[in-house]
């Protein structure tokens, strides 16, 4: 009996020993297969989808933003009552029941999209129903809150969030970020076991891009273009506004535009950013470049005289005429040639300059080659290869026989405006890394010097005469500011055959202001206006309206002041007199309900409101004008109801 007990004991001991050895083997000796099994059982992969970086204007206004949306999918094999589920979903998604039911009846599939990019409310409403076989995947959706505004520049993204056109395409690598995959342990219910919850919120965002564009100016430019297209029944219109000193692009627009939230509803033709991608014969706006080339080579001075042959010049079998057949100019100075836009005398200046120098001048000013703007699809424009005969020279002198983009023309004028430096125009002002906060600021880049300071100054003076009483650009004037520029009326190339389109013109105006110290370069071109066609009548007024807004927007002080602009001194009330000093000394810290009431005398209602915005103080207003007194008075505390009554007086 005892021997049996001993044997059983030994047997059990051996078994236990084997078990312990096996356990030690499993626990202590590394084994890849077992580790993989463990990982599969206890670990899960969490994918954090990146959010595409925002695009802002120069003042921080959102132009393109991304937000989380929820895409609904179904596993048709699991969905039990397709018809019933389809009815529920149709109600939430506002879609036909049949369409959803068809998807749910695809039993041979394990995954079908029901609807993509739903908002949170719809997602929650469907999720609350707890329908088996339905699920959601988080996706990022690109939104352009300003709709059509700046659509050509921004471009748009594809279904998978990749940039397809415009800034979205050019800076796709910056805006997009890679998705992050995290391996985390999970519990029996599949929930991730985490120590640091922040890892789920560290979504790898793309970089934030700030453009050089001013949203408000862009809006006005687009409005003006839409209006001129409508009023003159034109095919299209383009405009570019540059910072005269840096060549930053402040506004760039084409009309008609499109809605980037729904880009595929528009033809590709309409989605093109014409100021960069389209070239055309610019017409007389090129005469300024011609004169600049001749001036820089010492061949002419502003008062050099040319005989304009009574408005008719025969070159071989071809006759060059003035744009208006009534113009029969005699002898004109270079200054007058620009002001009156004489074709004949421009051809003569070109002959004096010579074909080789003319081509060199155009190339120096950035024509015939890409400027290198940070935008996809930039066109070079066309400069014919040499040799050029006199016909070609005369044509190029008046802006025909060559093509250029609106941006090239505006940038060439910027070189004249800024003292002779050709700079690279650019659209992106800064790129901010959302994860590190690091900001890369873009700097203006000088391409080359094309004029000396003195030559540029002479050009500015000559171009100012274009907007004088006898110039063609009177309509481009801006009260208070000298405007320099040049009108252009180019014949439009026949798109369906050889030669020019009968009655087809491109009316344009290129210029800058204030001419003495330029801040803005503006180029406007209207394609095939049907009610009038001269640049002076169609494009110059648009230039003027854009320029008026631009100078007001930045608060540029006027230069041309006469006695009639000076206001007569009037007797001002005590309140009004104290307003300026009160405003000057006003401390614009917000008023808090627990602090004492400050002295608000002399402030406007708007200024008072700006100081209480974001607090729980309620303002009662009595009267109009400036603040004369308040209740409670300055120095006292607000009552419990936190009401501050302001009494205004004129």
């Amino acid at each position: 009996m005892r021997a049996r007990l001993v044997l059983i004991l030994i047997g059990l001991t051996v078994l236990w020993g084997l078990l312990l050895t096996r356990a030690a083997f499993l626990q202590l000796i590394p084994n890849e297969r077992l580790r993989a099994l463990e990982r599969r059982q206890f670990e899960t992969v969490v994918t954090l989808n990146p959010r595409r970086g925002d695009i802002l204007d120069r003042n921080g206004n959102e132009l393109a933003v991304s937000m989380t949306t929820y895409s609904l999918f179904a596993d048709p094999k699991i969905v039990k009552h397709p018809k019933k589920v389809a009815r529920i979903l149709a109600r939430e998604l506002r879609k036909p029941v049949k369409q959803i039911e068809e998807k749910l009846r695809q039993r041979n599939k394990r995954f079908v999209w029901i609807e993509r990019q739903l908002n949170k409310e719809t997602r929650d409403a469907i999720a609350d129903r707890k329908i088996r076989g339905l699920g959601f995947i988080e996706e990022s959706k690109r939104i352009y809150p300003n709709e059509r505004l700046l659509s050509h520049v921004l471009g748009f993204v594809g279904g998978e969030g990749q940039g397809l056109e415009g800034i979205e395409l050019h800076y796709n690598d910056q805006l997009q970020a890679d998705s992050k995959r995290l391996n985390v342990r999970r519990d029996a219910r599949g929930r991730p076991l985490i120590v640091n919850g922040q890892i789920f919120n560290q979504v790898p965002d793309g970089n934030e891009i700030s453009l050089t564009i001013d949203r408000e100016l862009q809006f006005i430019v687009e409005q003006e273009l839409a209006e001129v297209v409508r009023n003159y029944q034109a095919d299209s219109a383009v405009a570019v506004v540059l910072d005269a000193q840096t060549s930053e692009i402040l506004a760039m627009a084409a009309s008609p535009s499109f809605d980037p939230n729904n880009p595929l509803s528009y033809s590709p033709d309409r989605r093109r950013n014409r100021p960069v991608t389209d070239t055309f014969e610019p017409g007389s706006t090129m005469k300024a470049i011609l004169v600049a080339g001749a001036l820089s080579r010492g061949l002419i001075e502003p008062n050099t005289k040319f005989d304009c042959e009574g408005g008719r010049l025969k070159i071989g079998r071809r006759v060059i005429r003035e744009s208006d057949s009534r113009h029969r100019f005699g002898v004109l100075t270079v200054n007058e040639i620009l002001a009156r836009s004489s074709n004949v005398c421009s051809a003569k200046i070109a002959f004096k300059l010579g074909a080789k120098n003319l081509l060199e001048t155009l190339q120096e000013f950035g024509f015939g080659d890409k400027l290198g703007v940070d935008f996809p699809g930039e066109a070079k424009g066309i400069l014919q290869p040499q040799p050029w005969d006199n016909n070609v020279v005369a044509s190029v002198a008046i802006g025909h026989g060559m093509t250029a983009t609106p941006l090239q023309i505006a940038n060439a004028y910027a070189a004249i405006a800024n003292g002779g430096w050709l700079k690279r125009p650019y659209l992106v002002k800064a790129i901010r890394d959302r994860e590190t906060g690091e900001v890369i600021e873009m700097e203006p880049k000088v391409l080359r010097r094309v004029l000396t300071e003195e030559q540029a100054a002479k050009m500015r003076i000559m171009l100012t005469s274009v907007t004088s009483d006898f110039g063609t650009g009177k309509n481009a004037r801006v009260p208070g500011y000298p405007v320099a520029g040049k009108t252009g009326t180019a014949q439009k190339v026949n798109p369906n055959g050889r030669g020019y389109l009968p009655g087809g013109y491109i009316s344009s105006f290129a210029g800058f202001l204030p001419a003495n110290d330029p801040k803005f370069v503006i180029y406007v071109a209207v394609d095939h206006p049907r009610k009038a066609y001269y640049g002076s009548a169609v494009a110059a007024p648009v230039f003027s309206r854009i320029a008026r807004f631009a100078v007001r927007r930045v608060g540029l002080p006027p230069v041309l002041i006469t006695q009639e602009h000076v206001l007569p001194k009037t007797q001002k009330s005590e309140v009004v007199r104290s307003a300026a000093s009160a405003r000057a000394s006003a401390d614009f810290d917000p008023i808090h309900s627990d602090s004492v009431v400050p002295d608000l005398s002399g402030l406007t209602l708007r200024e008072v409101m700006s100081r209480v915005t974001g607090t729980d103080i309620r303002i009662r207003v009595r009267g109009q004008g400036f603040v004369s007194r308040t209740s409670p008075p300055p120095g006292a505390r607000l009552s419990k109801n936190k009401v501050l009554t302001v009494y205004l007086e004129r």
């Binding site: 206004n61 959102e62 933003v65 937000m67 989380t68 908002n119 949170k120 939104i143 809150p145 300003n146 709709e147 059509r148 505004l149 519990d187 929930r191 991730p192 076991l193 985490i194 120590v195 640091n196 919850g197 922040q198 789920f200 919120n201 949203r215 408000e216 809006f219 801006v478 009260p479 208070g480 008026r548 100078v551 007001r552 002080p557 006027p558 002041i561 602009h565 000076v566 206001l567 001194k569």
Partner: protein, 99 residues
């Protein structure tokens, strides 16, 4: 007598300490896990709030877009676009320009 009591209780005290330690460790582990779930829940809430904030940011950008403001000004406040000469630009030095 006291020594005998100590000798008799010592094993029980040791076992008690070991058991208490084991319970303590188990409790701590459960607490860590519980806090992990709380952190997960809160981090999800934070994300939801961030998404909501973003949604509101987009909404704000939409409702303050210049085109909408202009439409509202014209439709609701019956304002009109100024004609040439209706805008008077003022400067600090008593100078005014009609634009």
């Amino acid at each position: 007598m006291k020594r005998i009591i100590n000798q008799e209780l010592a094993p029980f005290i040791s076992v008690g300490i070991i058991v208490a330690s084991l319970f303590g460790v188990a409790f701590m582990k459960m607490e860590v896990r519980r806090m992990g779930y709380s952190v997960l829940k809160l981090s999800r809430e934070e994300r939801t709030i961030r998404d909501l904030e973003r949604q509101q940011l987009v909404q704000l950008a939409k409702i303050t877009r210049p085109e909408r403001l202009q439409e509202l000004a014209q439709a609701r406040l019956t304002l009109r676009k100024p004609h040439s000469g209706q805008i008077i630009q003022m400067t600090d030095h008593g100078v005014a320009f009609r634009q």
